[in-house]
Amino acid sequence: MDETILDAFRKNGLSRRAFLKFCAATASLLALPPAAAAAMAEKLATTLRPTVIYLSYQECTGCLESMTRSFSPTIEHLMFNNISLAFNDTLQAAAGEAAEAARKEAMRKAWGKYILIVDGAVPMGAGGAYCVAAGQSAVDDLRHVAQGAAAIIAVGTCAAFGGVPYAAPNPTGAVPVSEVVRDRAIINVSGCPPIPEVMTGVVVYYLSFGMPALDRQGRPLTFYGNTIHDRCYRRPFYDEGRFAHTFDDEGARNGWCLYELGCKGPVTYNACATLKWNQGTSFPIQSGHGCLGCSEPDFWDKGGFYRPLPAATGHWPRGEVLGGAALGGAVVGVGAAALARSRQQAAAAKSAKEVNSPPPKEDSHEH
């Protein structure tokens, strides 16, 4: 496999012109300036098709499903023209020992140069016994494969931040990739699932330009630099104070802001509001449901999908707790007053002795 990506294009019957169009489209998708398209073309023309190992652990396969729906570049295009996908247990035809053998061989040949894509969280509980394939626990496997990877991309919120398995009570001790592989930067492409073009776009970006600029959570800024709220087409309604109060009320049917229905747009970083899903068809808010915040860590445990953002996240019983606080305060107040009154009585008694008169029962003719 020593052909460059341009060679791969040609081999598949695509002209150089098509290759350039691909570069231009991808650059545009990545919101890069036009000059980047040329740079991308130059780089990819001379880049060898890299080996990609795609490992799946505690995952639902949603991320891969999403990736297969990428429209630019398509998964086929990616696989046939840009990368050499050496292992993916869902897509590959082989299974069992043969598949494992092929992986080991690919890793050996491309050791230190392959791209590792990880999908799903990694359970640490019971010594890693909750996810075992081919006699190897996920954690051991990941540690090993990571050593030879040129870059590691954690795809999906499970791999990036722990996702579903990590959610309370996390019985398997699931952790994100970044907690298993701690000695290097991981590119976190979070989302549940991530947008197809985001996943493929990140791969192509890496091939063209190397490590992308990442936010503090390791997510490529290109796609995760803005919140949903800041790019949401319903934002004018938020500003006008027009909100849907229930699903299918007048506000909902008029397409008003879904903040009150629990939309987490303001604190969710992703490209849904601009790139959208299904080739730019729609995204959850456009379809009438608030953003779940699925590209953020712990989004399952942030209080509730339908609980609005400003609401307190704790599930403590409001009435009982605050009623208890009121009662407690009143008791302390009574105690303080009792203490004060006894001091007053002592003072009054002492003063009365000084003027030789009985302490008045109910002193204070004023207040």
Partner: protein, 453 residues
Amino acid sequence: MTSTDTQFPLELNQPRLSIQKPEPRYDKQGEMADTERLDRAMRGFVKDFGATAALYMESCVHCGQCAEVCQYYVQTGDPRYTPIWKLEPFKQAYKREVGPFAPFFRLFNLKRRVTVQELEDWQDLIYDSCTQCGRCTMVCPMGIDIASLVGLARHGMAAAGLVPHELWATVERAKREGSPLGATPAVLKDRIAWLEDEHGVEIPLDLERADVLMTISSIEVMKYPQSIVALARIMKRMGASWTFRSEGYEATNFSMFAGDQQGQREASLKLIEAAIAVGARTLILPECGHAYQALRWQGANLYGKPLPFRVLQIAEYLAEGIRQGKLQLQPVQNSATFHDPCQIVRRGGATEAPREVLHALGVDLREMDAHGAYNWCCGGGGGVVTIHRADPLRYKTYQIKMQQVEDTGAEMLVSTCSNCRQTFDDGQAHFHWDKTAQSLLELVADHLVTEQE
């Protein structure tokens, strides 16, 4: 206690000395050590905090509006006269000793102990520059009754012997002789006899039974005896059954001014017991502001039971008489303005009675711009007129009154409090003003329709 009355004699008939540069003076009574004084003051403060006073102490938001309506701040611009600031040691004592967070404040010393020096510094704020007029109470957005709280603070000061000398001298004299100005029962008897003779009126003294127990203030006995004559004429015209009693006639209560609670109680009890002794249905208080405060509103609470008789200020009694047709009055030809005594009107609620009387007198009444409950204080109440070192301050505040009266264009100034009257007289002399306060009572007596015999 030292005989402060000989050291600083109170001579109201003498021209006042004007003090050029009063030295700061911390008057003290008694030979107590400072620690003892402080302890007594603290105990005096602490025992007075009921729910209402405590609520007030918690509620101040430091807005400063009280200063803007206080005659002392308005005329001097000295922020020390801010009414709520006058209560600062009192408030501090409250927060440290009695408030809901007091244990914490004590434990972490977040509210310091009050010192004797502070009490001394505050003496002139609590006494010299506060007449308890109550304007501050009217403006406070939180509704804090600052004037009453000053009265409470005086309890502690009095217990500690930190009252200005002249005021304390007056209190001592009143307790010793039954009158702050020397109008002892013997003197009263004498005066009454002389007035009866001189003016041909009947002034009953020590009758066994009467419907009305009449009381009088020493200021009237000693300075304005003509008002007793006026009283006699009016009561005769109304056909009232009334009497003075030599064991309970003194309506003033200088102990209340000073903060001497026991003295205050004793003075009020004398009047109450005298009224009960004669079986009176009504006790009449004279033209005296704080007498109204002391007996009408505080008397029953000191007595411990509701009073078995009505308490009326003389203007209220006159208004009642007019309403019942018992008093016919000739019209007064002049225009007049009315000075509302603070303790009777703003603090006491008897706003309409004097005006009913003035209306019956056919007076062309020109109200001052700030009148009724919003009136400015004459500056002499609360015991301030007795404190010589406070004279310069009192004259400053008096200027507000003169301006108010002038602005009405009225020919006459009428009031119904002898302490105000005395303050106006003194102010008139000091400023060479052409007006002073006339007594409403005397005005009525002078305008009774002549009887057809």
